[in-house]
């Protein structure tokens, strides 16, 4: 079965990102397809490589990046939500004349249309948020 996952909250602050990760991992390990994980609202904050969580805690961003590497997962950060919250990749950096970017490995920034497309193409869209 083809899943899509929506994550609306940032890492650490709310459990949503953890729940979404465990759900996604379980779906993949059961042999299902997860066609996309879409990060919207504060969820875009999952996609920064600048976090340094305590050493005895999970690294939420790295965990997503690793899962993306393992399963060729499409991690999409919403551009409009990202602009409001300061999540920037090389293209956005150039376009908005910023002096740095902070996107993490395996994440890409794209439009809300990617969420709608996921809703159309997936058999199930599952949301996690606050």
């Amino acid at each position: 079965m083809k899943f899509a996952v929506l994550v609306n909250e940032g890492p650490y602050t709310h459990q949503a990102s953890d729940s979404a990760y465990h759900f996604t991992r379980s779906a993949l390990s059961q042999g299902h397809e997860v066609m996309r994980v879409f990060f919207y609202h504060d969820g875009v904050n999952n996609g920064t490589r600048l976090t340094t969580p305590p050493q005895d805690d999970r690294n939420i961003t790295n965990r997503w990046s690793a899962l993306a590497g393992e399963y060729d997962l499409d991690l999409v950060v919403c551009v409009a939500a990202a602009q409001r919250r300061g999540i920037v990749d090389a293209d956005e950096q150039k376009r908005n004349k910023k002096d740095a970017n902070n996107i993490a490995d395996g994440f890409r920034i794209s439009g809300l249309g990617q969420l709608i497309e996921a809703g159309i193409q997936a058999d199930r869209l599952v949301s996690f948020g606050d």
Binding site: H41, A80, A81, L112, G113, I116, G119, I120, L125
Partner: protein, 143 residues
């Protein structure tokens, strides 16, 4: 949009947006509305439902000038231009909040099948009716 047009333009699903949050205190309302508009631009069948504090999003005469935030209230008026024709508002949620339909923005759409007549978009429904509407949709997103 006719049944044939839907089929010729690819897969069309009914996206139901269940809006349960008050506006302004957080931006779930605004970012939820942005998703709905994009969904409509993708020629999907978009239906909006407002329940719980979500009914406050449709309150008339909202004016954010004194709190200095962007007033996205006008965007609700654009829903009709995006071929969104149906807004369901739960009766119980309105009543609990001391509101009636007269307190809401008079949102309309132009019916292309009826000589572009302006028709009201807002339908007040019971919880029971809304449960049925949720059940009948293809994709449900809560904001």
């Amino acid at each position: 949009m006719s049944e044939e047009a839907n089929q010729s333009s690819g897969q069309v699903k009914q996206f139901l947006y269940v809006n349960r949050r008050a506006p302004h205190g957080s931006n779930y309302a605004q970012e939820g509305l942005e998703v709905a508009l994009i969904g409509a631009a993708f020629e999907q069948d978009v239906v909006m439902a407002y329940v719980d504090d979500g009914v406050f999003q449709l309150k008339s005469q909202q004016d954010t000038s004194d709190i200095g935030t962007k007033n996205f209230g006008a965007t609700y008026g654009a829903l009709g231009d995006y071929d969104v024709q149906t807004i369901y508002v739960e009766k119980e949620s309105l009543e609990m909040r001391g509101l009636t339909e007269d307190d809401l923005m008079p949102l309309v759409y132009e019916d292309e099948d009826d000589d572009w007549e302006e028709k009201p978009m807002i339908n007040i429904v019971s919880a029971c009716q809304l449960a049925e509407i949720i059940d009948q949709s293809d994709v449900v997103l809560n904001f």
